[in-house]
């Protein structure tokens, strides 16, 4: 637990160092394209990759995030109708969310 905290602080430490290194044109394009696919710049992508060793891409993840927000708003409105088992529906949605969370965390 203590180790986690230390790692977390290091991740957010001030960025004072600069890395310059040479790569081929093809390698640069590859890194650039892969970063763009994840809506990151090259620096963010390489740092993220070094921390996590692997990146789990959730297809349509950004749309899913928006839909989750919307569906929770709808559930909120439905919750006033006592005859609709809203929490049961929320449980089902969250099962899916939990599964994706576990995959993202590499479990």
């Amino acid at each position: 637990m203590g180790m986690d905290v230390v790692q977390c602080k290091n991740h957010n430490a001030r960025k004072t160092e600069i890395i310059n290194f040479r790569v081929s044109k093809e390698e640069k394009e590859k890194i650039k394209n892969e970063a763009a696919e994840l809506n990151m710049n090259m620096a963010e992508y390489l740092v993220f990759l070094s921390r996590n060793r692997q990146i789990t891409v959730v297809p349509y993840g950004e749309e899913l995030a928006k839909e989750l927000y919307k569906i929770n708003q709808h559930f909120n409105r439905f919750s006033q109708y006592k005859y609709i088992p809203v929490q049961d529906l929320q449980d089902v949605v969250n099962q899916g969310i939990n599964t994706i969370n576990q995959i993202m965390k590499g479990k």
């Binding site: 602080k9 957010n12 989750l68 927000y69 929770n72 559930f75 909120n76 929320q90 969310i97 993202m104």
Partner: protein
């Protein structure tokens, strides 16, 4: 008088803060609500949004804001919940998950803890956007509509609240 406080520090993790906020002994049956998030699974769903945008390792995963009513307010539980929800929408400038927990019990002043996801549903990090006084002014308008004593702050326009006293 009412109080609005932005907590800069987040020493508790998302889960620890959640457990503190939703303590049934403090909130009771109607005290917990969510905007864009299921209050029962708030931690998982906030982590999900952070994970989707590769921001699960951020130092401050949430922003905590506390709104406290004046002591001795004479309002029903559901009205208090309604006010706290209205305030929640004021506190964010974009679509962002918010968990609210109103602590009714064991306190002299009924207050609401807001846990705002640091990552929006579009992947943007939290920015306060306006000065604290701006938020106080807008919240005071809500309080005025319910006849509640406002948040007092330096430079406020005192006139609309003269009747509330």
């Amino acid at each position: 008088m009412a109080i609005l406080k932005f907590e800069n520090r987040t020493p508790r993790s998302l889960l620890e803060m959640y457990k503190y906020m939703v303590d049934f002994n403090k909130t009771g049956k109607y005290g917990v609500f969510g905007i864009g998030v299921d209050p029962v699974y708030a931690v998982q769903q906030m982590e999900f949004i952070q994970g989707i945008f590769y921001k699960e390792n951020i130092l401050h995963p949430y922003v905590q804001i506390i709104f406290s009513f004046d002591s001795g307010i004479d309002l029903g539980v559901l009205t208090i919940c309604k006010i706290c929800k209205e305030i929640a929408y004021v506190l964010v400038n974009d679509k962002r998950q918010i968990l609210g927990a109103i602590h009714f019990n064991g306190t002299a002043n009924i207050h609401c803890h807001y846990m705002i996801n640091y990552v929006s549903i579009r992947g943007e990090l939290y920015r306060q956007g306006h000065s604290v006084n701006y938020y106080k002014e807008v919240i005071n308008q809500i309080l005025f509509n319910y006849g509640i004593k406002p948040i007092i702050y330096y430079g406020m326009n005192i006139f609309p609240f003269a009747i509330v006293g």
